[in-house]
Amino acid sequence: MSAIEFDNVGRLFERDGRSFPALDGVDLTVADKEFVALVGPSGCGKTTCLRMAAGFEAPSSGRVLVGGAPVPGPGPDRAVVFQQFALFPWKTVADNVAFGLRNKGMAAPERRDRIAAIIKLMGLDGYETAFPHQLSGGMQQRVAIARAYVLDPQVLLMDEPFGALDAQTRVVMQEELVRIARINPRTVLFITHAVEEAVYLADRVAVMTQRPGRIKEVLDVRAIRAAENWDRHARVEDVMDLESFVHLRTHIWRSLREEKVGGER
């Protein structure tokens, strides 16, 4: 079991000697092997939520549980794809991807196979010996995703992982992520500012309020996806054309717009 639970979570930050709440009473559960997308206006505390699940930060109030226990600190059972990649610039693509596996003490031959497989999957073949700064932003992001996937973690925490990709690559990666998620479902918390991406990928979409962030509403995409049989379409754009998809997307858009306007105090 590796569910993520946010139980009435608050988080205060200090700025100019004054503390202000970034999150105020976040309640959200990502069930075991469920894919939840988190959308919300920028600055509402999405990254903060993810960092608490990852163990980089502790809540100021409330509890964050993973697998039923409070998060002890960061670890490879909860792989993170950072918003700014955080690749090691002094390591090659292959060494970046291999870094976590070496901590696991995995035997070299098995490690090589795993790395080769993930590099192929991410379309990084031929770039194994390149350094991150020699790659485009989109390629760097793929390396960051590969570095997380290769750990085969129970929980994946992804902070706008497709944000730096061009539209075409983005679609490929979305389809790829759906495919991987079908073969080997994980518990995924996925932050995005792209509403369509959230609706396409997630089992449920959680919409946050303007700062201080709370969960405003949670939409069950899974039920609609099953009822309307979205999966008969292999391509993103075909799914995004469906009336049920558009309806859901528009609903979330409206919900977010209320926040943006209301939030500009």
Binding site: P76, F99, N103, K104
Partner: protein, 264 residues
């Protein structure tokens, strides 16, 4: 856009201006010594120095030729500098990682680092006599602070995202220090080594003032006792040129490191 200073010269202009600067300096020197404005035994002419240098290249003075003196100096310098780098860089890295070590060492270090290397000469002589330990200690005291400070700053202010990535990937302390902290600080460390190398070389004459039996500094002291000012200036020129070569060499390494990292 208006620059805060005047227009930068082109490469050709730069070369020309540099040549003019050097020529003026040599001319002024020549004029002062050749005209008798300054007595010749106090300031030799550039030609005297050139002739003397040529002589020293092949003929021994104070027991050795100039290249032999230089070789001895470089040997002492290498030991002193390598010791400074070997202690300063690891200590700086560890201070950047372990905050308690930082709190413990920084006050001691800050208390000592403004003492000029030459101030250690009496103790170096007392503790090591004329052995190699004295010069090494003085060169060490010149080269050590930048080695330590740069490694410390590099580690202390390493971008938190790299440390977080390492922790997320389940990396232990030792591997984080060796494979994340060290390479992340590497550009800062190399810059510190370059500055330390320069300051260590500057400390050389002081190091060889009292304790050496051969070396450029020793040669200069012997030149002074023999009232051979051309020998002293020849030593100064040798030190200046070798220092320049060391600096240019380390600059190349620094540029290479930064290039590899995609920094410049």
């Amino acid at each position: 856009m208006r620059s805060s200073t005047t227009r930068p010269p082109s490469t050709a202009e730069r070369l020309l201006l540099g040549a003019i600067g050097l020529a003026s300096f040599l001319g002024l020197w020549w004029g002062m010594s050749a005209s008798g404005l300054v007595a010749k035994q106090f300031l030799p002419t550039p030609l005297d120095v050139l002739a003397r240098t040529q002589y020293l290249l092949t003929e021994p003075f104070a027991g050795a030729t100039l290249p032999e003196h230089l070789a001895r100096s470089l040997e002492r310098y290498a030991y002193g500098f390598l010791l400074a780098a070997g202690v300063g860089v690891p200590l700086g890295l560890l201070m950047g990682w372990f905050r308690w070590l930082d709190a413990m060492v920084t006050p001691v270090f800050d208390g000592l680092r403004f003492i000029a290397p030459i101030a250690w000469v009496p103790f170096a002589a007392l503790w090591f006599g004329t052995g190699i330990g004295g010069p090494i200690m003085i060169i060490f005291s010149g080269a050590f602070p930048p080695c330590l400070i740069n490694a410390y700053r590099g580690a202390r202010f390493v971008d938190a995202k790299y440390i977080e990535a390492a922790r997320m990937l389940g990396t232990g302390s030792l591997r984080t220090i060796l494979e994340v902290l060290l390479p992340a600080s590497f550009p800062a460390i190399v810059a510190g080594l370059r500055i330390g190398a320069g300051l260590g070389w500057q400390s050389l004459v002081g190091a060889e003032l009292i304790v050496a039996s051969a070396g450029v500094g020793y040669m200069m002291v012997q030149g002074q006792s023999n009232i051979s000012t051309p020998t002293v200036v020849a030593g100064m020129v040798a030190i200046g040129l070798v220092g320049l070569v060391i600096d240019v060499f380390l600059r190349q390494i620094e540029a290479f490191v930064r290039h590899r990292r995609g920094l410049a």
